[in-house]
């Protein structure tokens, strides 16, 4: 046996040991990381976390979609669905009912349908739904490219870049490291997004006046897929016996006034396509109707050209509850 062969054999032995340990370490690292994420259960997916310990820290679409697998269907009896216009509605003021605000920033009807489908497929305690409608929700213009609203997202909860971002943002928020950008309690445990401080503009009336001219006619066009998804949503809610209230978000009066024909027509149009029968389970209301115009004329109900202030939210929720009670 030559010296070279001896060295080679010794090295080969070392590499054999190294490779074996490496492969075992791969498996070990994977198991430790996976179980750590299950243990932390940041989205309440596995039922290891108390209801009031689960909240959104960031990556809102990702987080709320994952919450629809277990946390929302198992812990709440009502849900608010919609885009940012309804995302800051704080369901805390709904007395005697345990609502979760599932609304997400930039949500379109396909997102709302995906979230609702997942909540209802996971056989939970949800009995009521409030759906916020606005032309923004049903237009094809400017939709988010990455929506995470598919079952594959479930696997990302075991370890993904999105999950790491949530951890990172959780640390930033919990330790209040960047309060101006990521305030500590921006997301409440009921899902509502207290973004008022971040979104509020100084001159609300001026911003509304500016927006009057920014609204384009094609924004009122309902995308064919969104129309189909809206129908599916209503059918789904009805077939699951969910008491549903659909409302047209109250836009600031100057904007409504300048586009009232399109707005009114939009509301008729979006509802006309649905073949579900209104009755005990379904009702709707247009908060842009004249009887509610005092609300939309009052600038203090808004923080910008559409999102509601704390005062505005309170009034709107009260009105919604009154109208839902009338259903019952």
């Amino acid at each position: 046996m030559t010296f070279y062969t001896l060295i080679f054999k010794a090295m080969e032995k070392q590499f054999k040991k190294y490779l074996l340990i490496l492969l075992l370490s791969y498996v070990g690292a994977l198991l430790v990381f996976g179980f750590l994420n299950i243990f932390l259960d940041v989205f309440g997916l596995y039922g290891f976390r108390d209801k009031d310990k689960v909240r959104v820290y960031g990556e809102e679409r990702f987080s709320k979609y994952l919450m629809t697998f277990h946390h929302i269907p198992q812990h709440f009896d009502g849900m608010i669905l919609g885009p940012s216009l309804s995302a800051n509605l704080n369901p805390e003021s709904i007395s005697g009912k345990n609502y979760f605000n599932v609304s997400i920033m930039g949500a379109r009807m396909n997102n709302i349908l995906s979230l609702t489908t997942n909540v209802l497929e996971n056989n939970g305690t949800i009995k009521e739904a409030i759906v916020c409608i606005h032309p923004y929700v049903t237009t094809d213009i400017g939709a988010e490219e990455m929506d995470f609203m598919n079952p594959d997202t479930y696997w990302k909860a075991y370890g993904s870049v999105n999950l790491l971002r949530v951890y990172g943002l959780g640390l930033i928020r919990n330790f209040d490291l960047w309060p101006n950008k990521y305030p500590k309690n921006q997301y409440r445990t009921n899902g509502s997004n207290a973004f008022e401080a971040l979104f509020r503009v100084e001159d609300v009336a001026g911003r509304i006046a500016e927006e009057v001219n920014n609204v384009k006619v094609n924004e009122f066009e309902i995308g064919s897929n969104h129309r189909r998804d809206f129908k599916k949503l209503l059918t789904l809610l009805q077939s699951n016996n969910i008491q549903t209230f659909i409302y047209f978000h109250p836009v600031p009066y100057p904007i409504y006034q300048a586009h009232s024909d399109e707005m009114d027509q939009y509301w008729v149009d979006i509802l006309s396509g649905t073949d579900v029968k209104k009755g005990e389970l379904l009702s709707s209301y247009n908060f842009n109707s004249p009887e509610f115009s005092d609300f939309s004329k009052d600038v203090s109900n808004y923080i910008d050209h559409g999102h509601l202030s704390l005062k505005g939210q309170k009034i709107l929720i009260q009105e919604i509850m009154v109208k839902m009670d009338q259903m019952e």
């Binding site: 190294y18 490496l22 690292a29 990381f33 790491l164």
Partner: protein
């Protein structure tokens, strides 16, 4: 099947390796080769089974024609090369030819919109080299299946490295091929992990900026235009060198050593140096089968310059059917001619200006390589070299989540590359930890992203 897909990593690769090492020693060499051939064809057919017909034809034709090529039989060689080039031209360049013909007044030919068969540029060049080597009298392959394996070996089939018959067949015939070699396996795993991270962590992060920038050239300000072009330079490097590292790592898992394809090219101090370190196996092919046969540098100064230009024009058009690719090749050809003259004068730039100048030139020429059209390339360059404000409501970068990855990408350009690190690998705790961290990082990214194809699949 992409190297960075779960079906490859959890299905195809483990099964291929298991049969290779478990049954390989029990079966004799033709069967292990046959197994690798079958796996390679399955891998290739996964994208589109119809591609298999073309590669079958290509392998069979070249195998048969090579049998008839001997030193002095130039006609057969020319026939063989012509058929290969015609196939390549038909699939890759027909629409480009039609596009140019349509400039003739009153002519309006319809496009064929043919799907480019994956890897056709790579396996065509590899086989042309084989035919030329046969003409030169190099030992030929006697077995069709062995030849088929040389052409289709899955780690390098789609995007190289472009290999020589002589450097592969000896390895495939090695009687110890299916013996477990823990040194190769350890290095193979490490190099593969490094390549995978380069692709899915770094290249794909830069891709977000580059794709958005090149898709919205008219919205870019000057800073954003530079950011987009730099992001593409980094994306392309990490994407392609990552793929090559994965191929080399996979080769080692099967006891096959594939040639290095990248050697930290952005550290190059001249354009000549750059081409020694970028896509090294293509440069080798162009040198051996185009530049030298044209006369290389043996026929005077002017002819050398012409040969360089011709070689790089061909290199340009090989990358894509478009005038922008041709112009990219032209610019590199010109740069090499200028560098040659500069070197002859004995002038040497200091290290840092030389590095910056080389990188800057490469970065600017990538604009023609990446942009969809002349207008888009010129628009990007105009924005890079004039003070243009960006559009108010356009954000090239919408968040800074990827900032650590961008920093890591830039740092990685200046540290030893994946192959160098693979060579240095020792069975030590440091490498073990690095390897496990790389694995975890790759798993996290694999479980996160919408997968992007490798850029060189388009070439």
């Amino acid at each position: 099947m992409l190297f960075n897909s779960f079906e490859f990593l959890l299905g195809f690769l483990p099964v291929t390796l298991f049969v290779f090492y478990f049954f390989g020693p029990k079966l004799k060499s033709p069967f292990t080769g046959l197994w690798l051939l079958l796996c390679s064809l399955f891998f290739y057919g996964w994208w589109n089974p119809a591609y298999l017909i073309l590669i079958f034809f290509s392998i069979a034709f070249n195998y048969l024609i090579s049998k008839r090529i001997f030193p002095g039989q130039k006609k057969t060689l020319v026939f063989g090369i012509s058929i290969n080039l015609l196939a390549l031209i038909f699939f890759k360049y027909t629409d480009f030819v039609i596009y140019n013909l349509n400039f003739i007044p009153d002519l309006s030919l319809g496009y064929l919109n043919l799907l480019l068969p994956l890897g056709i540029s790579f396996y065509t060049f590899q086989q042309i080299a084989y035919l030329v080597d046969s003409y030169k009298g190099t030992k030929k392959e006697k077995n069709l299946f062995s030849y088929g394996l040389f052409v289709s070996f899955f780690p390098q089939l789609i995007a190289g490295p472009i290999v020589h018959h002589t450097e592969m067949m000896g390895q495939f015939r090695n009687p110890r091929l299916t013996n477990l070699n823990y040194d190769h396996l350890s290095r193979g795993v490490f190099i593969f992990m490094m390549g995978l991270a380069k692709k899915i962590v770094i290249a794909d992060s830069f891709a977000k900026i580059a794709n958005k920038g090149y898709a919205n050239v008219t919205s870019l300000g000057s800073v954003e235009a530079w950011a987009s072009s730099l992001a593409y330079s980094l994306q392309l490097y990490f994407d392609f060198s990552g793929y090559s590292a994965m191929a080399i790592g996979l080769g080692l898992l099967f006891n096959i050593k594939l040639p290095q394809n990248f050697n930290s090219p952005y550290k190059s101090l001249s354009i000549k140096d750059f081409w020694r370190n970028w896509h090294m196996t293509l440069s080798r092919f162009l040198r051996d089968y185009v530049y030298i046969p044209l006369g290389g540098n043996q026929k005077g100064n002017f002819r050398t310059s012409l040969n360089l230009m011709a070689t790089f024009l061909l290199g340009g058009i090989w990358h894509g059917a478009g005038w922008t690719f041709m112009f990219w090749g032209f610019l590199h050809g010109i740069a090499l001619v200028i560098h040659r003259e500069w070197s002859k004068m004995g002038l040497v730039l200091p290290k840092i200006p030389a590095l910056l100048l080389t990188f800057l030139f490469v970065n600017i020429t990538w604009v023609f390589f990446r942009a969809d059209s002349w207008n888009s390339s010129l628009g990007m360059l105009y924005r890079m070299f004039s003070r243009v404000p960006g559009m108010e409501d356009f954000y090239l970068v919408s968040n800074y989540y990827d900032l650590p990855v961008w920093i890591a990408g830039v740092v990685l350009l200046f540290v030893p590359n994946a192959i160098e690190m693979g060579r240095r690998l020792k069975p030590s705790i440091t490498y073990l930890i690095l390897n496990v961290l790389l694995f975890l990082l790759n798993v996290i990214y694999l479980n996160s992203i919408v997968k992007n194809d490798f850029l060189y699949f388009d070439f």
